[in-house]
């Protein structure tokens, strides 16, 4: 895995330190760790990092400054990968992030996921590589809500769809489910057919297609 130059924005000092040492542990370089949205904008402009990790809620308003800063950064630098950490799963936020631009990697994860340190760093890597990573919880809610068009899927296909939405490759899904890659490909073809989506080889676009369809 290549070394990533990360700008980290998180207002809780405790968590900022924790995340910094976590990323360092995995060989990444935290070029700046800041505590508010203004500093985030300034540092990103100055340092041009490989990926940005930001909390949603930050000073001064403790509202959604982090997310707004991420959206602004995305507008100014369409190719900058951004991973947003949120204390809550808000589909609105996830949708805003995805709508903001699809040219670069985008991630929206529940903060809890950082405890699964390996998976978290893995997800960060995928975002930096230009993939979309959406928290399984968002996916679960979307699946729950849009039951009608999805009730045709088998439980296994739903599981696969959830993993697809998390931005995993067929190989990763196969490992996770302990099946062959060919079986995964068959499931995905089945899902796309059942959802009337044209098959596509590109993981990233496949995720977006699924999410776009689910949001509609």
């Amino acid at each position: 895995m290549r070394t990533l130059r990360v700008v980290l924005a998180e207002d809780s000092v405790l968590l900022r330190e924790g995340l910094t040492s976590l990323l360092r542990h995995f060989g990444h370089e935290v070029v700046a760790a800041v505590g508010d949205a203004d500093a985030l904008r300034e540092r990103v402009t100055a340092l041009d990092p490989d990926v940005v990790v930001t909390d949603v809620r930050m000073p001064p308003g403790f509202s959604d400054e982090g997310l707004r800063a991420a959206l602004e950064l995305r507008a100014a630098r369409p190719r900058l990968p951004i991973l947003v950490l949120s204390q809550y799963v808000e589909q609105t936020y996830a949708a805003e992030l995805i709508d903001a631009g699809r040219a670069a990697g985008t991630g929206y994860l529940l903060k809890d996921r950082v405890g699964e340190v390996g998976e978290f760093v893995d997800a960060l890597g995928r975002v930096a590589d230009g993939h979309t990573v959406i928290d399984p919880e968002v996916v679960r809610q979307l699946l729950d809500r849009r039951r009608d068009p999805l009730h045709r899927l088998t439980p296994r296909e739903r599981e696969v769809l959830g993993l697809v939405a998390e931005g995993r490759s067929n190989a990763a899904i196969a490992r996770r489910l302990v099946v062959t890659e060919a079986a995964v490909a068959k499931h995905i073809a089945g899902i796309l057919t059942k959802l009337d989506l044209p098959p596509d080889a590109d993981d990233h676009r496949r995720v977006l297609a699924v999410l776009t369809y689910l949001r509609a």
């Binding site: 809780s12 405790l14 968590l15 330190e17 924790g18 995340l19 040492s21 976590l22 542990h25 809620r57 403790f62 509202s63 959604d64 204390q87 809550y88 808000e90 589909q91 609105t92 903060k111 809890d112 950082v114 405890g115 699964e116 340190v117 390996g118 978290f120 809610q141 979307l142 729950d144 809500r145 849009r146 039951r147 009608d148």
Partner: protein
């Protein structure tokens, strides 16, 4: 003496009324009205003595009227004191004495009427009530014999006199009733009922507002404190786990600790959402409703025609209404789908949550719906529920909102 006003005392039986203090209080109340009447009467008498010409008379009368108006607050003060004789319910504070205060002018208007006109009526009622029995009672003192109206028949005189004594207690009724009615008018003018109600509503609104900001504070504290610490803890535990080989005895313990941290975080998150949903403050009602609907296990169709933000108490009330309604829908209705519609119309927010379930929702069964109705009432709104057995269920919430 259980009655609290003369008017309610006037409804008690004669033997009780006659023995109570109410007729005397009423009489005192009505006669005390003569005291402020002295002012206009005195002025009139003074003007009369001057014997002015017509133009001067008009000027003097106008000046007299001005004097009475100027004395209005004083007369109103007196009338408030006087009111205690026949109405024991406390009056609200006097409005501050200001030219731009509507309460002040209402008081003055009442005082002028009371001093110039109303006392005539009071006096008339007292006279008419007392005159017949007193006249009868005075029979022995009346001239008798030829030429007089009363024949010189002793037993007739005694009978008439006795009738007077019997009738006198009955005079208590018109006097008490009239005093009660006058007091009711005085109270209606001096303490209009709706100012009381508005004040109560406002204080309830303030209370709910206080609760809301308190909830927001708790949410913020939990978010900035416990939640961040737990996340940091989970990172530390994750890193610690990386340092420990899978075969090490501490490995399963660390895994267990991580799992428990994850559970604690999940529980804390749900708790915080119940206290105050962050998205409601951030993005407003429409986004928050979308969020709740997205969480519902029953598919929910949305028809939200809301643009811009609504006042915070309205948003919070509406949000918790939808939250409760959708929870009930998922738990009890057995519905296959639900629908939430929200729009503003005539300065009101209208909210409808409907489903195709079994109906039969009963507000008395749980505290959820009644709590919501109470909440809606505090912001001057209301909650309507139609849920016949067999369904469907429709919950409608109307909340006033000034935009």
């Amino acid at each position: 003496m259980t009655a609290r006003t003369a008017l309610s005392a006037a409804a008690t039986p004669p033997w009780r009324l006659a023995r109570s203090a109410w007729p005397w209080r009423s009489l005192a109340y009505l006669l005390a009205g003569m005291i402020p009447a002295m002012l206009p009467l005195g002025l009139l008498a003074g003007i009369e003595l001057l014997d002015p010409g017509i133009p001067a008379l008009i000027l003097l009368l106008l000046a007299g009227l001005l004097v009475v108006v100027a004395a209005g607050p004083l007369i109103a003060w007196f009338d408030r004191r006087r009111l205690r004789l026949v109405d024991r319910r406390p009056l609200p504070q006097r409005p501050p004495l200001r030219l731009r205060e509507p309460g002040t002018w209402r008081e003055i208007g009442y005082a002028v009427l009371s001093a110039c006109v109303a006392w005539w009526l009071d006096l008339g009622v007292v006279m008419l009530s007392l005159f017949p029995p007193l006249l009868l009672m005075s029979a022995p003192l009346q001239p008798t014999g030829p030429g007089a109206e009363l024949p010189a028949v002793p037993w007739l005189t005694a009978l008439l006199c006795a009738a007077g004594f019997v009738l006198l207690p009955l005079a208590a009724y018109p006097i008490t009733a009239w005093a009660g009615a006058r007091a009711a008018v005085a109270r209606a003018v001096l303490a209009p009922a709706d100012t009381d109600l508005v004040e109560v509503l406002r204080s309830r609104e303030r209370l709910v507002d206080g609760f809301d900001s308190e909830r927001r504070r708790i949410e913020r504290d939990l978010h900035d404190g416990a939640q961040q610490r737990l996340v940091a803890l989970s990172v530390t535990l994750g890193l610690a786990r990386l340092q420990v080989a899978d075969e090490h005895a501490a490995a399963p313990l660390l895994d267990d600790a991580r799992q428990q941290t994850a559970l604690a975080l999940a529980e804390l998150r749900e708790l915080i959402r119940g206290v105050h949903p962050q998205i409601l403050s951030d993005r407003g009602l429409a986004a928050a409703i979308r969020d709740v609907a997205g969480r519902s296990p029953v598919p929910v169709e949305l028809d939200l025609r809301l643009d811009g933000r609504l006042p915070s108490p309205v948003e919070v009330t509406a949000y918790f209404a939808v939250n409760e309604a959708l929870a009930n829908l998922a738990r009890h209705s057995g519905a296959a789908r639900g629908r939430v519609a929200a729009w503003t119309q005539d300065r009101r927010l209208l909210l409808e949550v409907s489903d195709d379930g079994a109906g039969g929702a009963d507000p008395a069964r749980g505290t959820g719906l009644t709590g919501l109705a109470d909440r809606a009432a505090t912001v001057g709104g209301r909650l309507l529920l139609a849920s016949p057995a067999g369904g469907p269920t429709l919950l409608r919430v109307e909340l006033p909102c000034e935009r």
